[in-house]
């Protein structure tokens, strides 16, 4: 595990840098391919909607011996035409689930009574669910209203907290996650239940949560950037993504562990609601982590690079690179990872081979008690904007 610590150190320093932003075309292509498959599946296969969306009657009752054929017979006798009978086995025993189309009141009562008599169970052990056709459309409508309100609020919050371009990046990533999650449901053919809808809505929150953490670092790294000529916006953002990479991995693992435990436990005990929810979350969280790194940041950078100030900065950086020691720099960094990113551009290698010491030396200036006070006075200002380039220069 110490290797991840090493990696964390190298990522933080920019010694190892994965080019997330520069290679955006590659990530876009991968995501586009996945999205195309998802959308195609949604259009061609559609979603497997549960009884809550279609309307119908479901009766589930425990029985050790009752047969599927018997249950079907009872349902048909009660006037049902479209009958689906399934056996459910969990740790608490075996039960039979009978699903029919919407039955009139008398039919619904006859179905329950018939099953209770046929299988000789106590009426208190029977689970009944009667859903009108209107229910599903109502849930869908409410979910969509909720989605719209949520997106509006979030767009507002992100614009205020970060800026418009980053908000767009975050929302693009969010749409990406949602389409993939729903697409996976369509591809695999999982049943969509109200619990699944809860799961979908939660992904909204999670996907953005993850993006916010990455963006916060991006903002910190790019503050005061336009004034200098050290690196372009994209390079600074890419450094941020790399610096938060270990966090992203850890967070995803930690968020997925409880969800995975639901996925594992729920089917054993027959808690379908939990399982439906966890499945949506599992896919969504995985997609959310991916998109924060590979979609949200590149999109935000792409938009940001269109700003005149950022274009000017990019030119200055290019000029500086071309004029100076650019060739040697590229050669030096090429070994560890992609070139042309922060690590490469900043590796103005000095003769001093003990890189960390030099870096530590740089930190010493800001790291003492004095500097610390200065920092707490102006959070993120000189500390983030100038210090890091300074350190790189030392190298």
């Amino acid at each position: 595990m110490s290797r991840l610590g090493d990696l964390g150190q190298k990522l933080y320093r920019g010694e190892v840098s994965y080019d997330f932003v520069g290679q955006r075309k590659r990530w876009y292509t991968i995501s586009a391919a996945i999205l195309v498959i998802c959308v195609a599946s949604l259009l061609l296969r559609g979603l497997n909607l549960g009884v809550d969306f279609e309307g119908g009657n479901v009766v589930t009752l425990p029985t050790a011996t009752g047969t599927v054929a018997d249950a079907r017979e009872v349902a048909l006798a009660a006037g049902a035409k479209d009958v689906t009978v399934t056996e459910v086995t969990s740790t608490s025993g075996r039960s039979i689930r009978v699903q029919t189309e919407i039955l009139p009141r008398e039919g619904a009562l006859a179905l329950t009574d018939g099953l209770v008599k046929k299988f000789n169970v106590s009426p208190g052990d029977v689970n009944v669910s009667i859903v009108s056709a209107a229910w599903g459309s109502q849930i869908t409508k409410k979910a969509l209203t909720g989605l719209a309100v949520f997106l509006l609020l979030i767009a507002l919050f992100l614009t205020l907290y970060f800026e418009r371009r980053m908000a767009i990046g975050a929302l693009v990533a969010l749409a990406h996650d949602l389409v993939i999650t729903i697409g996976v449901y369509s591809l695999v053919g999982f049943t969509v239940t109200p619990a699944t809808v809860i799961g979908f809505l939660t992904i909204l929150g999670y996907s953005l949560y993850d993006t916010v953490v990455v963006f916060d670092k991006v903002r910190e790294n790019t503050r005061g950037l336009a004034a200098g000529n050290r690196m372009t916006y994209s390079q600074a953002a890419n450094l941020a993504v790399n610096q938060t990479l270990v966090r992203s991995i850890n967070t995803s693992v930690i968020a997925l562990l409880p969800v995975a435990s639901i996925l594992f436990v729920a089917p054993l005990l027959g808690a379908d609601t939990l399982k439906d929810l966890a499945l949506a979350l599992f896919v969504g969280i995985a997609a959310g982590t991916y998109s924060s790194i590979f979609i949200a940041t590149p999109v935000a950078c792409q938009l940001k690079e269109r700003e005149p100030a950022m274009q000017a900065l990019a030119k200055r950086v290019a000029a500086r690179e071309a004029s100076g020691k650019a060739p040697s720099a590229a050669g030096a960094a090429g070994g560890t990872a992609r070139t042309r990113s922060t690590a490469a551009t900043a590796t103005a290698v000095l003769d001093d081979p003990v890189v960390p010491e030099a870096a530590a030396a740089a930190e010493g200036a800001a790291g003492g008690p004095q500097a610390q006070r200065q920092q707490s006075g102006r959070p993120g200002g000189p500390g983030s904007g100038k210090k890091r380039p300074a350190k790189k220069k030392r190298r």
């Binding site: 610590g5 964390g8 969990s90 009141r105 009562l109 208190g124 009667i130 859903v131 009108s132 209107a134 229910w135 109502q138 849930i139 979910a143 909720g146 949520f150 907290y161 619990a195 809808v197 809860i198 939660t202 929150g205 953005l208 949560y209 916010v212 670092k217 966090r247 850890n250 967070t251 930690i254 968020a255 562990l257 409880p258 969800v259 995975a260 639901i262 594992f264 005990l269 609601t273 939990l274 969280i285 960390p356 010491e357 030099a358 530590a360 030396a361 740089a362 930190e363 010493g364 200036a365 790291g367 610390q372 920092q375 707490s376 959070p379 100038k386 300074a390 350190k391 220069k393 030392r394």
Partner: protein
């Protein structure tokens, strides 16, 4: 914000510890040690009611009307003697629904007991007929008319004309009952003296009376002809019950159909309703169940006049009947056998004890201001409920264990801080769920448990963000003590921003609730707030304290902040030494930048 906590970490920890202790002290003193469980975890029946606007009505579904309906339904549920029932409104305006939850399982007819609108009214019968659709021939409609026109001719006899032949045998009345004819003659002397024995359909000889004369319009007649009462008609397809207008509708049994005049007496004039057995005129109790009504003063007078006038009409004719309309269907259309002057009519009509009780209850607690249809009915057995609870708890514990294991594995000593913080967050969450359950009536549902499980990840992530920041600061060469403060400075903003997103999601979901979403959103929001409290008042102060210890401060190999684990390959003291050496250089570099 970090400034006050930095020098006095003990105080913050004391505050949150006292809060937890107080919470648990309350729990044990009051004896409420478990959260209130939702129906899906303890078994029971839940019914979702959707307000509907009947065709042709211009009713608007308002929050006020829905709230009023909630009150009435609650009264009806209580009237059923159901303990621990809950009636709540979800959503708002036209999108609102009412959710009724009762503990029992055999409640498939729950809607019948509590969800009926129970809009009751008394209307005169203008025309009645068999329930089937009338095929083209317009002639049969003529049959009832003769009887209508016959009786007024009786009434007109005392006046000028001497032609006795016109008085007596009105050909159509099969069995001429002289008694009725006589009574009519005496009872309504006010009849207009018009001598012309018109055969035209002016049925209301007594038009000066309390029952307004209403001609049957062609449109009503057509609707009547086309109405098919042989199949049950769901509430949302029934005609609008507008008091001032005529109404074409079926009997609830489907045996007859009617054209009814404008409402004579509204159901709101009923002051009491109870079920009872019908007693005959000899005082003998029959086996038939009826609903006994009590009118208020105005309605008593009016009802007396109405029955007097109807009593005067040919027995068994349409004009001799009034209809009791419940939820836009005629539940009973009795013929009037006498004048009722005490304002205590009985409704009879194929009642069982249960249905008579239910109707009595519905009338007593008032009519619902809106019509509702059952949208979703769930009955969950206690077995399934406890299974789901067990699954939720097991999944939660397993998830927590995995997170603890991973934290310790990756963060070693820091992992202990994360575990302690998670434990505290868990204690707070449980305690608050109990507290809210018993003070605000919050019930924990399966979706709520899922929300709590998901939030384990989000809570733990706050620690991850903080730890990674601290480690980054240390990689920049700071000591743990300094790194905790500078790392916190940055991490707290990230944590707050990320939690704000989570909270916005929770609030939006809560307000625009979809089914079980509300429970989920609630726990998600609650745990997000708890996360903020724990990070600020516990995790960070604890780190500040621990950074002063030897174990963490000197970077013990198991502390999780040792140089080796951070990937810094050098002994800490020498790094600090070099840091001092390199100071001038770095300063110049900073200037350069």
């Amino acid at each position: 914000m970090a400034a006050p906590t930095a020098p006095r970490p003990g105080r913050a920890i004391a505050v949150i510890t006292i809060a937890v202790v107080a919470l648990y002290a309350w729990m044990f003193i009051s004896g409420n040690t478990t959260p209130k469980l939702g129906l899906d975890l303890r078994g029971g029946t839940s019914l979702t009611l959707q307000p509907v606007v009947p065709e042709g009505s211009d009713t608007v579904i308002t929050d006020d009307a829905v709230n009023q309906a909630v009150e009435i339904i609650r009264a009806r549920v209580d009237g059923q003697g159901v303990a621990e029932a809950s009636v709540t409104k979800q959503g708002s305006g036209a999108n609102s629904t009412i959710v009724v939850e009762v503990p029992g399982q055999n409640e498939q007819d729950l809607f019948d007991k509590i969800g009926k609108t129970a809009k009751l009214g008394f209307r005169p019968v203008l025309r009645s007929g068999p329930p089937t659709v009338v095929v083209p021939t317009p002639t049969p409609t003529a049959t009832p008319t003769p009887s209508g026109s016959a009786s007024p001719s009786v009434g007109s006899t005392p006046s000028p004309s001497t032609t006795a032949s016109s008085t007596v045998s009105p050909s159509s009345t099969g069995n001429p009952r002289p008694a009725t004819g006589l009574k009519a003659a005496t009872a309504s002397p006010t009849v207009s003296p018009t001598p012309t024995p018109t055969p035209t359909p002016t049925p209301s000889a007594s038009s000066t009376s309390v029952i307004p004369s209403t001609p049957i319009t062609a449109a009503d007649q057509k609707a009547f002809d086309n109405l098919d009462c042989t199949k049950p008609i769901p509430p949302e397809q029934r005609p609008a019950d507008l008091p001032a207008k005529t109404m074409v509708t079926c009997s609830s049994t489907g045996a007859e159909k009617f054209i009814l005049g404008p409402e004579l007496i509204p159901g709101s004039d009923i002051t009491g309703a109870s079920a009872g057995l019908l007693t005959s005129s000899q005082g003998v109790t029959t086996g038939e169940w009826v609903v006994n009504l009590t009118f208020n003063g105005d309605a008593t007078t009016k009802f007396r006049d109405v029955t007097r006038q109807m009593f005067a009409q040919t027995n068994g004719s349409d004009a001799n009947r009034f209809a009791i309309v419940l939820d836009a269907q005629v539940i009973s259309a009795p013929t009037v056998n006498g004048v009722i002057s005490d304002g205590r009519p009985q409704i009879s009509g194929n009642f069982t004890q249960q249905s008579a009780n239910d109707l009595g209850n519905q009338l007593k607690y008032g009519a619902l201001p809106l019509a509702f249809v059952p949208n979703n009915l769930q009955t969950i057995s206690p077995t399934l409920g406890s299974d789901q609870l067990r699954a939720g708890i097991l999944a939660g514990l397993l998830g927590l264990l995995l997170v603890v294991f991973y934290s310790l594995f990756y963060y070693r000593g820091l992992g202990l801080v994360s575990v302690a913080s998670l434990a505290l967050a868990g204690l707070l969450t449980y305690g608050l769920l109990v507290l809210l359950g018993h003070t605000m009536g919050y019930t924990l549902s399966l979706a709520g448990i899922a929300g709590a499980i998901v939030s384990i990840g989000i809570t733990a992530d706050s620690f991850v963000v903080l730890f990674e920041r601290i480690r980054d600061e240390m990689r920049d060469g700071r000591t743990l003590r300094v790194a905790v403060e500078t790392g916190w400075k940055r991490a707290q903003r990230t944590i707050l921003a990320a939690d704000a997103v989570s909270l916005i999601a929770a609030v939006a979901l809560y307000l625009l609730a979809v089914g079980g979403v509300q429970g989920f959103a609630f726990t998600l929001g609650l745990t997000t707030l708890i996360d903020v409290a724990v990070v600020f008042l516990f995790t960070k102060p604890l780190l500040t304290k621990l950074a002063r210890t030897k174990f963490y401060g000197n970077g013990h190999k198991w502390s999780g902040v040792s140089p080796d684990r951070l990937g810094i390959h050098r002994p800490t003291p020498s790094a600090r030494a070099t840091a001092r050496k390199g100071e001038p250089g770095s300063n110049s570099a900073a200037k350069e930048a």
